[in-house]
Symmetry: C2
Subunit: 293 residues, 2 copies
């Protein structure tokens, strides 16, 4: 298998090629002055198995089109199998027609990628597992929860309580994986909608956190409101230090500031969305999957 | 046939619905805070023939994805026929593999749109007619040259010489249509590549323009260099007033300034690319085609 980098994930693709001990496929991409995308393979890919690495953070549509151009070109030039690794899979929220007439964006993206020629797809901590059912090709969800925990332990965090900020199935599973990876325990908060204001609030359940470190594990942070609420409650219950580990640090305006104000020591994310806190690479996660020892 | 507006061409779609005397289909579109697109049809489209109006100017990739989401949704909701009117068809330059390994963007876009469910496609003054051969569905090129000339005559331009800035087949044909539309004559310049510098220059052929108005007709203006050169030569040959009429006013930085410095009275474009000089609507052009008198 050879690794081909898309424009959104150059550094990640390099890391994966190092993990898999296979050189990157030489390719060229640029934008013309009017904004159109240009892509050129500088090596023959005929009969090759290719891993295209292209995450889909904002600007999502641009990154999706780039992926389509790359996959279609590999297919036209007779690559044998085209596996796509897209740690952040955009459009994973509009997964069904909640209101009549709505675009089911998750399904449309799945159809579009499949028709372009993707043979197999891997993503990480997808917001909604149901989205993968729209893929007729093999499509897998991986998790970064264990890598995140190892990162914090390497930074001196001690026997932390792992905390899921809500009690949805995926969040609990992620917290369990995270805790198991470093031999510690986990617990969770419940999010409730206030009957009168409609606001979503975190219930103040008492956790076994007094005098201990805590790591809040989440799939995505946008405004940071949920994690900030959870952190405040943990501090009130006597947590020593509170950390936030998130797979997709989407970080809307002021999110980091809001989290720091809530007393959080450090926020860390992965390279699924390159940004100021994206200090963990997901390269080993996909590499382990594709090249089992 | 009912008209459905895409986000890039709201005003144009309104104009077309007036021309066709059919109300717009009610629909909602927005971008979520993270940049993802949301689309919802507010009316039933089952068994309807729909005209989706969505031009593809920059940001092209965003407009292409919007078009895909809209067309796919109409198809899922069982529209009978989905005609797309996209006056500016992006990615019309990379129409074949000039160098090994290149993405043939024109073909990939054609494939992607067809697979999304487009039944028929109309565009205007496409940069390269060959691109339409990638469509297995009926795909037509219209011209705005006649509308542009009528615009200038309504502004007091008198018996102008129509000038094609180069002698490519499409440019000559466009100048001919433009001249015929208002009962005047046309001529053309030749563009040549300088043997030593590699620069493209306009040959100083003498035209019958002394003491007359001249209208330079082109499909697209990006930097404005070609039109500015042509205008300078026309002025030197004694043209009274020089105008530029262009279908797609893409207008890279300083293009308008450059054209004004070349002594051009007015630059006008169409609503294929909304912008500061896009004063001509292409609504009658598509309306005439879809609803012959």
């Amino acid at each position: 298998m050879r690794v081909l980098s898309g424009p959104s994930s150059v550094k990640l693709a390099e890391n994966i090629s190092l993990e898999l001990k296979t050189p990157l496929i030489k390719a060229q991409f640029k934008r013309f002055p009017d904004g159109e995308f240009y892509f050129r393979l500088l090596e023959d890919v005929k009969n090759e198995d290719i891993l295209v690495v292209q995450s889909l953070p904002p600007p999502q549509d641009q990154h999706i089109l780039e992926l389509i151009y790359i996959v279609e070109t590999c297919r036209e030039l007779e690559a044998r199998k085209i596996t796509v690794y897209t740690p952040y899979l955009a459009y994973s929220r509009q997964d069904r027609r909640y209101l009549s007439g709505e675009a089911v964006s998750s399904r449309i993206l799945a159809e579009t990628l499949q028709r372009a020629g993707v043979s197999e797809l891997y993503t990480v901590d997808i917001h909604n597992l149901g989205v993968l059912s729209y893929y007729r090709i093999p499509a897998y969800n991986l998790t970064a929860a264990d890598e995140i925990m190892r990162y914090f332990l390497s930074k001196g965090v001690e026997k932390p309580l792992v905390v899921a900020p809500d009690d949805e199935e995926a969040a609990l599973k992620r917290a369990e994986v995270a805790a198991k990876a470093v031999g510690t325990d986990y617990d969770w908060f419940e999010k409730k909608r206030d009957r009168y204001t409609g606001e979503i609030v975190t219930a103040e359940k008492t956790l076994n956190v007094s005098g201990r470190d805590a790591v809040i594990i989440d799939d995505i942070i946008s405004t940071g409101g949920t994690a900030a609420n959870a952190a405040r409650i943990l501090k009130k219950q006597g947590a020593r230090r509170v950390y936030v580990g998130v797979t997709h640090a989407l970080l809307a305006e002021n999110a980091l500031e809001r989290l720091r104000e809530a007393g959080i020591e450090e926020v860390v994310g992965t390279d699924s969305i390159p940004g100021p806190v994206s200090n963990i690479t997901t390269a080993p996660i996909i590499a382990r999957k594709l090249k089992p020892i």
